[in-house]
């Protein structure tokens, strides 16, 4: 109960801080817009197959996550408030508070990405919208789950940012492969049965990563 309160307090604190500084949100939005612009320029009217477009969508989502999701922990380390947090909250409150913030941030981010993607790519048609959004939702959860613990590691390693994609990519690869495959299938009008194995991988991945993070976070958080 006490932990739940701490989780909520840390989540609200991060939201308020983000609203006030707009540090992550501004950088993320600009990143998404520039990335989409580069994709448009490089395509120059070329028509891509829907499955190739689904793959490119994940490229944008992956790099957007890489550019913004480490903020939650790195900003605490930069402001020197890690020690303050260690003194007023247990590790679980911090981990789940940050996880919740990252989940909300990445879901909003991915919704924006998909909407912009739909607006800019004329040929991008989703044949199975329900399935598609489910995959995006699960993918967002997975992205948030694994980047939260990696962000904690790199923040504690006091190396800002550069290591984040290096450490995240191998851990994220199972998620990316299943996510890309499932998105392609949903875009190409496939039924549930075809996407089911990928959904199982995505679900299992989220459970495994959150459980492992939950057990390991203490070692990352305490000096």
């Amino acid at each position: 109960m006490k932990t739940m309160r701490a989780v909520w307090a840390i989540f609200l604190k991060d939201v308020r801080s983000e609203v006030r500084t707009r540090y992550a949100v501004n950088a993320l939005l600009m990143f998404v817009v520039t990335t989409l612009a580069v994709i448009m320029f490089s395509l120059a009217g070329e028509v891509m197959s829907p499955s190739a477009q689904a793959g490119i969508l994940w490229v944008v989502m992956f790099f957007a996550a890489m550019s913004g999701l480490s903020r939650s922990f790195v900003s605490e380390e930069e402001r020197g408030t890690t020690f303050t947090l260690q003194l007023c909250s247990g590790p679980l409150g911090v981990y789940f508070g940050k996880l919740l913030f990252n989940v909300v941030l990445v879901i909003l981010l991915n919704i924006v990405i998909v909407v912009l993607y739909l607006l800019t790519m004329d040929q991008f048609v989703i044949n199975q919208p329900g399935l598609f959004w489910l995959v995006i939702f699960l993918g967002s959860l997975g992205l948030a789950a694994s980047t939260t613990i990696i962000a904690a590691i790199i923040a504690r390693a006091s190396s800002k940012g550069t290591l984040f994609p290096v450490l995240s990519f191998p851990i994220l690869l199972p998620l990316l492969m299943a996510g890309i495959d499932a998105t392609k299938l949903a875009v190409e009008d496939n039924v549930w049965d075809a996407v089911w194995p990928d959904l199982q991988i995505l679900g299992a991945y989220i459970v495994v990563v959150v459980t492992a993070s939950y057990m390991l976070f203490d070692y990352v958080w305490k000096d």
Partner: protein, 219 residues
């Protein structure tokens, strides 16, 4: 009356710490009981702050153990932060928030109800204007130090850790610290890490981190 002393006790046994195989301090053993003001002294870099962090359970020692007792019962290491207040120059506040917003977050995260009246009282107590609307970023270092004292006493902890509590403070601020120390003496104990001669006169006993010796302070 041994039971009274046992009611509230911090005991450290054989604490050693090294960084990159460089020895910071070795085999520190001491206890601090209720009503005591315990001074931790030592040269710069001798590990005063490191010792406080280890006692607070934030840093793991290479060997040794720390035990907190409240009401005769040992405190679970996970819950030590609930009975512990800590103020230090290296403790940072959320500078994008106002003083009240900071207090509000620290109350909520500790699971305490946030009460504006009490928060304003606390700000008054440390001599900060309770009606300031601007963010902590605009505060002077002395004002930040005062706000850190609020962070330390917010949850009325029986154990108060003060690391160089009078740095950055004017005479008025120093008086605030000393009155806090005397008040804490009544319901708990204080650990002060300092080299300041005036701070040391407030202590009952002194620990030299380098030698590990505990001596009665000349008052």
């Amino acid at each position: 009356m041994p039971d009274v002393i046992d009611q509230l006790k911090l005991s450290a046994t054989g604490l050693s710490k090294q960084f990159n195989r460089r020895k910071i301090f070795h085999e520190l053993t001491f206890t601090v009981g209720k009503g005591e003001v315990f001074g931790i002294t030592g040269k710069n870099g001798s590990g005063k702050s490191t010792l406080l962090r280890i006692l607070a359970g934030v840093l793991t020692p290479n060997s040794g153990s720390v035990e907190f007792r409240v009401g005769g019962a040992a405190i679970d290491p996970e819950k030590v932060i609930e009975v512990l207040g800590y103020a230090a120059p290296y403790l940072m506040l959320y500078e994008e928030f106002t003083a009240l917003e900071n207090i509000r977050f620290f109350s909520e995260v500790r699971g305490l109800p946030f009460d504006t009246v009490r928060a304003r009282d606390l700000l008054d107590r440390v001599g900060l204007p309770s009606d300031r609307r601007d963010v902590v970023h605009n505060y002077s270092s002395g004002m930040k130090q005062r706000l850190k004292l609020v962070f330390a006493i917010l949850h009325q902890p029986p154990f108060l850790f003060l690391d160089e509590p009078t740095t950055n403070l004017d005479q008025d601020g120093i008086e605030v610290v000393y009155s806090l120390i005397e008040e804490q003496r009544r319901h708990g104990c204080v650990l002060i890490a300092t080299n300041d001669a005036t701070d040391i006169t407030r202590c009952d006993r002194l620990l030299d981190v380098t030698t590990g010796e505990v001596s009665e302070a000349a008052r």
